[in-house]
C-alpha cells in the first residue's frame, strides 16, 4: 500500500522537479525570443537589399525605407541633392538604439547587465572618437558631428565629454566612471608611443569587462562564453592580420591583443604574433575553425588585401551567432544574434546609400553587401 503511494508520488515529484528545473532556466527567455523572432521577420532579406542597390537614385531608396520601421527616424532628413551621410547614419543608429533599449527592458534581470555591456560598444566607439579628436586637435563642432548616438550613454554626457579641451580635462570629466582608470593608465603610454595604444586600451577594456561580466553569473554562461569568445577571437585575428600586414614587431602586437582568448590558445596567439608573414600566421591556427575558412581565402587576401579576411570572418561570426540562436531557442543567444543582424543590416544599408550617392554602378554595390549565410543542416 504505502510502497505504491511512495512510487507514484516519487515519479510525480521527479517529473515535477525536472520540469521546474528546465522551466526556471528557459521560461524567462521565451517572451524575449518570440518578440525578437517577430523583429527578425522585419529585417531586410538579401533580395530586398539587392533591389535597393538596383534603385535608380537615393530618393527611391529613401522612399522604399519609408515603408519600414526606419520611417520615423528618416523623416527629417534631406533626401535630394546633397545627402548628409552623417545624418543618415545617425538616423539608422537612432532606430536601432530604440530597438536595443526595448531589448534591454525585455531581457531577464540576471543578464540585463551583460546586454548593457554588449551595447556599450557604441559608447566605447564614441570615446575613441573623442580621444582621437583631442589628439588631432579637431575643433569642437567637428567632434560633435562624429559622435554617434549610443543606447547606453545620454547625448548630453557625450557632448560634454566631447567638449574637453585636453586629456586632463577629459580625465576630469570621466572621474568616477569606469573609464577613468582605463584612460589614466593608458595616458602614461600615450606620452611615449602615441595614440594607438590609447585606443587599443579602450577596446581591450571593453572586451575584458564584457568577458568578466559573462563569467560573473552562472545563468546562460556557457552560451555567452561561446558567443562572446567567438567575437573576441575574431577581433584578435583581425588585429593580428592587420598588424602583420603593416609589419609591426611581435611584442607590439602582443600588447594589443585581447586576453583571455577563447578557442585560440595563448601559445597560438604568440606564435601568430611572431610568424613571418600572413600565410604562416594563418597556418598556426589552421586546426581551428577560423583557420579553415582563412586558408580558403588566403589567395584573395594576398591579392586584394585584408578586406576578404574581414568579410569571411564577419560572415562566420554571424553564422555562429545564428546557429546558436536557432538551436538554443530559449536562451540569450537569439538576443545577441539579433543585435548582430541589426548591425549588419545597418552596415549594408549605409554602404548602399553611400555608394548610391557616389553613383557607383549597382553591380559593384551588390558585391559589397555582407550576406547572412544560410545555415545548412
Amino acid at each position: 500500500m504505502i510502497e505504491v503511494l511512495v512510487v507514484i508520488f516519487g515519479m510525480i515529484g521527479f517529473f515535477f522537479a525536472l520540469v521546474i528545473f528546465h522551466a526556471r532556466r528557459s521560461m524567462a527567455y521565451i517572451y524575449c525570443s518570440a518578440t525578437i523572432s517577430a523583429w527578425e521577420a522585419r529585417l531586410f532579406p538579401e533580395a530586398r537589399l539587392r533591389e535597393l542597390a538596383d534603385a535608380p537614385g537615393v530618393v527611391n531608396i529613401f522612399a522604399a525605407l519609408d515603408d519600414t520601421d526606419y520611417r520615423q527616424q528618416l523623416a527629417g532628413i534631406q533626401r535630394e541633392g546633397e545627402v548628409d551621410m552623417i545624418e543618415v547614419e545617425n538616423a539608422f543608429r537612432d532606430n536601432s538604439n530604440s530597438r536595443y533599449l526595448e531589448i534591454l527592458k525585455m531581457v531577464p534581470k540576471e543578464r540585463k547587465e551583460t546586454i548593457r555591456r554588449v551595447l556599450q560598444r557604441a559608447e566605447v566607439w564614441d570615446l575613441k572618437a573623442i580621444v582621437t579628436a583631442i589628439h588631432n586637435k579637431t575643433p569642437k563642432e567637428e567632434r560633435l558631428k562624429e559622435l554617434m548616438p549610443s543606447p547606453t550613454m545620454p547625448r548630453e554626457r557625450l557632448e560634454m565629454l566631447a567638449s574637453a579641451e585636453n586629456f586632463e580635462q577629459l580625465l576630469e570629466f570621466l572621474k568616477e566612471s569606469e573609464y577613468f582608470s582605463v584612460l589614466s593608465e593608458a595616458l602614461g603610454e600615450y606620452e611615449e608611443r602615441g595614440l594607438i595604444p590609447l585606443l587599443s586600451a579602450f577596446d581591450r577594456y571593453y572586451y575584458t569587462s564584457l568577458w568578466r561580466e559573462v563569467l560573473r553569473v552562472k545563468a546562460q554562461r556557457s552560451i555567452l562564453k561561446s558567443l562572446v569568445g567567438c567575437e573576441i577571437d575574431i577581433v584578435n585575428l583581425k588585429l593580428i592580420l592587420r598588424l602583420k600586414r603593416e609589419g609591426v614587431n611581435p611584442e607590439e602586437i602582443d600588447r594589443y591583443l585581447i586576453r583571455p582568448s577563447h578557442m585560440l590558445t595563448e601559445g597560438m596567439l604568440r606564435a601568430m604574433a611572431v610568424a613571418e608573414d600572413i600565410r604562416s600566421a594563418v597556418d598556426v591556427v589552421s586546426r581551428t575553425p577560423y583557420g579553415k575558412i582563412l586558408l580558403e581565402v588566403l589567395p584573395q587576401i594576398e591579392a586584394q588585401g585584408l578586406s576578404a579576411a574581414d568579410r569571411v570572418l564577419d560572415e562566420m561570426q554571424l553564422k555562429v551567432f545564428r546557429w546558436l540562436a536557432l538551436t538554443k531557442l530559449f536562451s540569450i543567444a537569439p538576443v545577441l544574434s539579433y543585435i548582430r543582424l541589426k548591425e549588419n543590416e545597418m552596415k549594408n544599408l549605409r554602404a548602399i546609400i553611400r555608394l548610391k550617392v557616389d553613383k557607383v554602378e549597382p553591380q559593384k554595390i551588390k558585391e559589397t553587401i555582407v550576406k547572412v549565410q544560410k545555415i545548412e543542416f
Binding site: 505504491v4 507514484i8 520540469v19 518570440a34 523572432s37
Partner: protein
Amino acid sequence: MVLAAGLAIAIPGIISGMGVGIAGVAAAAVASEDPKKAYKAFVFEVLPGTQGIYGFVAGFLIIIGAGLSAGAEVTVPVGLAVLAAAVPAILQGFTAYPQGLVASASITAFAKRPEVFAPGLMYTVMVELYAILGLLATILMLTFIGAL
C-alpha cells in the same frame, strides 16, 4: 481512489497550465509585434491544454465509474488498483510542458516565417500522441479492472 481522481485531474492540469503559459507568453510577444498573427498563434496556445482535459476525463471516469458520487463503499484493493490504473493518466500531464516548449518554438518560427504554420502545428501535435496513449492506457485498465 479519491486520491487517484484528484491527482489525475490536478497534475495534468498544473502542467497543462505551465505549457499553455509558456506558449501564451510567446504568443503574446508575437501578437504585440504583429497583431495579425494573434489568432493563428492562439491555435498553438490551446494545444498544450489538452493534457489537462485528458486528465480531467480520466479523473471523471474514475469518479463516475466507481460510483464514488453515489457514496458507494470502496475496498482497499480496488482502490489501489484504480490508483495504479490512473498513473498513466497522471503522468501524461507532464507531456504538456515539452509540448508547450514546442508550441512556443513553433510560434517563434511562425512569427519569422508565416508559411511554417502547418509544419509547426504538426511538430506540436507529435508530442500529444503520448498523452493520448497515457489516457488510453488508463481507460483500458479501468475497463479491465471492471471499475467502469
